[in-house]
Symmetry: C2
Subunit: 319 residues, 2 copies
């Protein structure tokens, strides 16, 4: 077990990693960063609309220390929040982070969490500009992100006749978690799946590409069925998922075979991929077609020419 800085020492470490007040690398418009009661932003430097989210990853629920390193914990928690910004068609502006650390998190682990957060922030072109530190009995990482755009894309807005488009893989992360949990993280067929679970990427570029043209959008955090179900319900439409198109992902097929689960089932029920699924009339750069929107309600899965209703179930924290 390593050292334990006091609160001031830990905040100074964070200033070194995230950038302190006056750091030239801070996002435009950030006037006051880590080290005061609140961050100060120049509102006139934002776009017409601010998009604002909060997400939290909790030990035992979202990660286990035996399956993931601390730097991955920081990365994954940041990307989960950034994915919400992508799903609105926005660009990240800046972020706050609230860390809860248990007594057994030493300075090395603490630094790795922060470096993972900073890596992820940098990968999507932003920075952490403030936050909070507290002690607790389990580790959690809450991330609040502000993004900016001219035209936010909500879940409501899909219209009959629209096509359903997907950017990124679905089901891979769930296969990776199953493989890790079964002690098979070294299986070469699961390499991409394990990477998808440990190091997901918020689809910021794809989000910006769909922003001006999509009719509805969501990120796939809880499985395709559940999240597409949110669009169907919010938009008052029926959405048909095309099993063949969903199953065309070779990496998903290989990973599904390795863990012995049907790939379509993984895609429909598996979470934490942070793919983007959107509806719209025309093709969008970086997206592929996986279904269509029509009048009605609920979800339909089309497989081998046969259509059947499916429940929009997926991961539910409280079911």
């Amino acid at each position: 077990m390593g050292g334990r800085l006091d609160e001031r020492g830990r905040i100074q470490l964070l200033e070194g990693i995230f950038g302190a007040h006056g750091d030239a690398a801070l996002p435009a418009g950030v006037e006051l960063a880590i080290g005061d009661d609140a961050a100060v932003l120049d509102a006139t430097r934002a776009g017409r609309r601010l998009v604002w989210t909060i997400d939290e990853q909790v030990e035992h629920t979202h990660f286990r220390r035996d399956l993931v390193g601390w730097r991955d914990v920081g990365w994954r928690s940041f990307m989960a929040a950034a994915s919400d910004i992508a799903a609105m068609g926005a660009e990240p502006w800046c972020a706050l982070s609230a860390l809860v650390l248990s007594c057994d998190v030493d300075d090395e682990a603490f630094e790795q969490i922060a470096r993972g957060q900073a890596d992820a922030a940098s990968a999507v072109g932003t920075r952490i500009v403030g936050g909070n530190l507290a002690r607790g009995t389990v580790v959690s990482v809450a991330t609040s992100l502000l993004g900016s755009c001219d035209r936010p894309v909500a879940r409501a807005g899909a219209r009959p006749g629209d096509t359903l488009w997907l950017a990124g893989a679905v089901g891979l992360a769930a296969a990776g978690l199953r493989g890790l949990d079964g002690g098979r993280g070294d299986d070469v067929r699961l390499r991409r799946a394990v990477e998808a679970w440990r190091r997901p990427r918020a689809r910021i570029a794809e989000g910006r590409a769909m922003g001006p043209v999509a009719s509805a959008a969501i990120d796939v955090s809880d499985g395709l069925a559940r999240d597409v179900g949110h669009i169907a319900q919010a938009s008052g439409v029926q959405i048909v998922l095309d099993a063949r198109a969903i199953g065309e992902d070779a990496a998903l097929g290989e990973a599904a075979a390795a863990v012995g689960v049907d790939p379509i089932d993984l895609a429909l029920r598996g979470g934490e991929d942070y793919a983007l699924v959107v509806t719209g009339a025309r093709p969008i750069d970086g997206f592929r077609r996986i279904g269509e929107v029509r009048s009605g309600a609920g979800l339909v899965l089309r497989a081998d020419g046969v259509e059947r209703s499916i429940e929009p179930a997926g991961f539910d924290h409280f079911a």
Copy 2:
């Protein structure tokens, strides 16, 4: 043990309590509230500067179920974040909340937490417009708040010759917690102290009053010594605390006697009062004088005409 709604049911309950999309009572400029990937805000409706904070209250660290009701847990966690906005001289605009709930939190407890948050938001003139729900092994409430102002007041900026001003009580909340912890929550001498700990109030009006004129400001969450120490350090000045002025609070004296602790010690070391302490040249409505700023470094306590250096120690999460 009561019922357990699923995630959708819990989100619908929150929409009922906090207000959903299209609710006329939402703050001006909130275009999309609970129920999408992120809240959407009209940036042109904010003031010149945005002030942004996150705070988190964690079971066993910030509250214990045997000392506080769920509605108080919601209230206290919201006020802790709102106090950061007050300390910048800003006015709350809108808030997000990330709740972590353990399995034994039933729907009644869940609703009480949310109602406490909504009560507190309403008391400071704002609303919760989105958030996150997750399961965990202990309960925590993270609150991110955006505020707006023209002139944010930071911790740096105090100048020799300034006076030190206080709005609100200090030490009372710590006395209340001691009383509760000792099973003396019914002691009439502790009534105000227990109320101060259970139902703190962010000093929004006082924050707005000091905003245009204060040279530095902070909220007292970790004890007067530690938080005034932050101003001294950030501003590069020495601050003298006047024990007589600090001890003039009759409620503090009564509560201190009831718990058998020196009132000045309670004020210096006790946290969670959320008073505001600011520096500035002239008196400010709602503030009373408790010391002065001069050249030098660190903190000095003046008592009975004698000055002595004191450590800026108070509550430290990791010491």
